[in-house]
Symmetry: C2
Subunit: 356 residues, 2 copies
């Protein structure tokens, strides 16, 4: 039995308590300063208002003020905050960590600094730790397509734990893996995180096929839709994702698996980012689409904004040419200038390249 302390009691941070408790571990669920009401509800009624489920028996809800005690003896510290909380959690944990501490981050993605340099979020988190501690603490990360609603419903799910310390990854897998939370490992955190982040951007482009169909009046008299168009966009996305991972020094062939194809596919079967793409395919600008959705689409746009800062740097460094990543550029342009999405069909599979 392990002691697992989760910091961040949002949906995903809480959903992970299902396999942990089913596996018999001691689970301490610590809310951030934004989670006080959630923790109160969990304490008073064992009910998580975001997940709308009763939390598993034995999970110990704790307020942020109790973090020091919550970390006492923890075999794993799980970061359950979203992308915006990565700096905060690094700074919050920094004074409380010890040599040998192990962090597993549920926060996926990339962040471009003011310098336009793209970093994966586990590295951003580690960057907030004192240099002396950094080499004595492991930071692994979770990626891959797992919806919190489904994990907490014990639907069969698969995920990838990634990091550079293979032995530590295997230890973590031993704690979390079970029949419905199936953990694979990858020692390519760069690839895994870049796929995880950018699949949201590309889903906007792929979803746009459905919006284009709607704008064209829907299926025609013999019910011809735009599956062909969607397939083209999925293919172009696959190629650009693999290229981007390669530029970042990750393993492009990782696309052939859960962190790439599996995640991109399922993100394109529905959800907010897909819906955003659908609306933009109809001709709406990003702000118009946001207004129509009346819900948060931060995740998709966040990755786009990071890449908007990064591409000029990559170009200046000669890592890409002006014609590379045409689909990503089109999505960036649409969102940063708040203009309708204009896909460059001639360029989508590579400018002037006809060999695939």
């Amino acid at each position: 039995m392990a002691i697992v302390t989760i910091l961040g009691a949002g949906r995903m941070g809480t959903a992970i308590t299902w396999p942990l408790r089913d596996n018999g571990h001691e689970v301490r669920l610590v809310g951030t300063h934004l989670d006080a009401e959630i923790i109160r509800s969990c304490l008073d009624a064992r009910y998580h208002p975001g997940l709308r489920r009763r939390i598993p028996d034995g999970v110990q809800p704790l307020y942020l003020e109790q973090l020091p005690q919550a970390l006492d003896g923890a075999d794993v510290i799980v970061s359950g905050v979203n992308s915006l909380g990565v700096h905060w959690i690094g700074r919050t944990l920094a004074p409380l960590l010890w040599p040998g501490a192990s962090i597993l981050s549920l926060t996926k993605g990339v962040e471009a600094g003011d310098d336009g340099v793209l970093r994966i979020l586990p590295d951003v988190l580690a960057g907030e730790l004192p240099a002396v501690l950094r080499s004595q603490v492991t930071v692994a990360a979770v990626a891959g397509p797992v919806l919190a609603y489904e994990l907490s419903g014990r639907r069969i799910s698969a995920t990838v734990f990634t990091g550079t310390d293979e032995a530590e990854l295997r230890r973590l897998r031993g704690i979390f893996h079970n029949d419905y939370y199936r953990v694979w490992l990858s020692t390519d955190p760069v690839g895994v995180e870049v796929f995880a982040a950018l699949k949201n951007a590309y889903t906007i482009g792929i979803g746009s096929a459905w919006g284009m169909l709607e704008a064209a009046g829907g299926p025609d008299q013999i019910n011809a839709a735009m599956h062909n168009t969607a397939a083209l966009l999925f293919a172009a996305s696959s190629r650009e994702l693999a290229q981007t991972v390669k530029i970042m020094g990750g393993r492009a062939e990782g696309f052939i698996g859960l962190q790439g194809a599996g995640d991109l596919y399922v993100t394109c079967t529905g959800g907010r980012t897909f819906r955003l793409g659908w609306l933009m395919g109809k001709g709406l600008t990003h702000s118009q689409a946001q207004a129509e959705m009346r819900e948060d689409t931060l995740e998709g746009a966040f990755a786009v904004l990071q890449m908007a800062r990064t591409l000029p740097v990559w170009e200046a460094e000669g890592r890409i040419g002006p014609d590379d990543l045409p689909m990503l550029r089109a999505i960036i342009r649409a969102i940063t200038t708040d203009t309708p999405l204009a896909l460059p069909w001639d360029d989508l599979m590579g400018v002037g390249k006809v060999m695939v």
Copy 2:
């Protein structure tokens, strides 16, 4: 302007006349012995009963008896028959071909001979030609996700022409490519055809997630579905597809593009094979699912039956171990024994392998 003679006036053979006529070519559409009524309708009313569309102006419908004249001066001969017609079309064309003739086959897939040796359909077609002619005729093939209804509706579509003669592929692209029929090229016909064939088999497995959800009573009280499960199955399929292509001597990395990921994705957004998988995921056997669908699901099952003959040969040759391709094996087992699909969850991402 080129002269293009199409043999086979089914939906796909006819749909290709849209880009060809829009590109200004002379187009001769020759029916097989099964297509006589289609040709009559095209002659009498310019109407294709399968596509339910008026055929493009200028397309010349011809009966099979007129094939010799139809081939006169043809710059390209398009094979428009389905997988079952490949031997027939090879034998039919054999006495009528000439050195330098160019065949482009719309028929995708693989065929396992009685010996269990798997061959791609362009090679099967070429195998029906006299040996002396075989080296003097080029056989290229078309693959990638293009639905005939959509192509004939001028929806933006993308496809891959594949063959070993790059110059010939470029010539063909020059004839067919336009704004809505976007042609990429690949010199890996083995990879392209194996992806095209097996995506149908794997779609049965991926579609089963939706059936499993239905069998489990649908989304739960907070609307948790089984996207996580579908993503796992898509990922496992991706990996097995790439492995199979590699075993066949094709390029596994071709998965990252139209012939792999793009085609698999769109096949999983609907259609007969996906529906077959859905029903089998509910617990129905193949024959029960067929009875419920009351429509032809040959395509998906055809590839499965070919692989059922091939896997024992590959095992005997040591090309695969008994634990390789567990998802394909489960699908083969379900279909050949007409028993419910039983997915081997522990093996799906590779037996005992946790690194991805």
